[in-house]
């Protein structure tokens, strides 16, 4: 059984980070339902492993990392591949939002992930590199390449606010 203190930590993490984690998993599986399955598993892992964190940022980074790993595991399985590809209805998005979202989701994972972490989570290239256990040059290259691909499909995806 887990201590009340641990359960409370995980409960706070659910409240604080579940939206971000679900949106991150969504960039992989492109389905809110599947993303929520993954994130439930992430929190279950948190409860089972009870990792020690130095800070809230450390906790968030760990959760993001585990979400990425679990999402990758899911999309690489034969079970997932064999499922009928159903597109969730997202008619509530504005046309421009839908266009940008679909363009980003259609990128290969290696490009999609840095784009999400950079533009949605607001991480720097160095932080992304640390999170993904790779070097900043690789992240920078992938971001540049992703922007290039988005420029082709959208006519622009610039840094200007």
């Amino acid at each position: 059984m887990h201590s009340n203190e641990l359960i409370e930590c995980v409960r706070q993490a659910v409240i604080k980070y579940s939206d971000n984690l679900r949106r991150l998993a969504f960039t992989y599986v492109k389905s809110v339902h599947s993303a929520e399955d993954i994130v439930q598993d992430v929190f279950l892992t948190y409860l089972q492993k009870a990792p020690d964190f130095d800070s809230a940022e450390h906790e968030k980074a760990w959760l993001l990392r585990v979400t990425i790993n679990k999402s990758r595991n899911v999309i690489k399985t034969g079970w997932y591949r064999s499922r009928l590809k159903l597109t969730e209805e997202r008619g509530y998005l504005l046309p421009e939002q839908s266009e940008v979202l679909e363009a980003v989701l259609s990128l290969a994972e290696k490009y999609r992930l840095p784009i999400h972490l950079y533009y949605y989570e607001g991480y720097s290239i160095e932080e992304i590199a640390k999170l993904l256990d790779t070097n900043p040059a690789t992240v920078g290259t992938r971001l540049a390449r992703a922007r290039g691909l988005l420029r082709q499909s959208l006519g622009g995806f610039e840094d200007e606010a």
Partner: protein
Amino acid sequence: MKRNTYRDAMDTVKLNDDFNDKTIAMLENETKPARKLRLRPALALACFALASILVITAAAAGGVQLFSLLYRSDVSAFESYFTEATTPINTENVSFTLESVVYDGYTGQAFVSMKALSEIGTELINQFNTDLEAYSKEEQKGSIFWPEKPDYKRAICNHHMIIAGVDNQQYGGVYFAISLISEPIEDDKCYYLIEWDTGNFELPEIQIGWTDNNETVLTDFDLSATTSNIVIDCSTDDSPYPELTDATEIIVSPLAVYISTRTSEQYVNVCQLIGALCDDEQYYNDSASVFVDENEYLDDLILVKYTNGEIYDLFGSDEGEYKTLPLTDALPLVQNGRNMFSYSEDDENGVRTYCRIDRAGFNELTDLSEVESIIFMGVEYKLH
């Protein structure tokens, strides 16, 4: 403004409002959502047949209680690593069964998965996991055991499950890892993935047995029967970039694809060599793109095409991704980094040939009957 649009769009994606409440309730009850078995049907069938044979064999030996796996080792030689289990557990009526053995004849790696068939078996595994994790934190980072000398000996779960090593490996030490497969199993069963690498290219000799009232019943297990590599001779195929690399042989195993290439030039960054084909902006550190026609390009150099027509990247060429293994999540498994071998050969005239073997993992145990071809540098090599 597109970057803000992305953020707005992502924020607008509707999430279920009751997710947090349901998740917290689930966590408080610790009820893991049911998962589907993810092994491919043919592999699952093979696993079932293998498991059945082993269960029958063990039952004939007289009351299976626990499962042990030995590698060229005398069971009587083992010593307790954990001097005592954290909690005594009654092992009566405990049974394990072998789920599958997949042996990669190319590298000498074998993946063994087994499962507990009873709740108390699961409890034992959980206890072992606790001990293992405690040891990992204390002595090693992560769950990887890479002893300086291959003399590890462990006794697990009150000495009932035994994993022992040998002390005469040729080089590279013994790579050994054990991890709990937590995701795709029915509620009352657990998997273990045991992986070892002998560091040489010989077929390991393995005995599998069970302990029964402190006596171990051993049975030889012929790993060659599980070897199912497919070798493609591609020396006669024309490479589109002969100045860069000439594929001579492709070996496909259920675990990975190995591509042997030979060239008269020392290997340099692929994208630099085919820079003319690369986008202006792309000079990757770790991968490259190959154009299959003027409009379409394929990321990564090694791709797999399944019989249903779908094409996927293989792990191995991307940093980080290579470390992610299939059916595991509780404990990270790290491949031993041998995703590329290279060496050179000089002929009698002193002409040097550079040889290179690239490895790219499937990231799951793959049924080769479902693999149609391997695409390397844009050239498709059929398996069957």
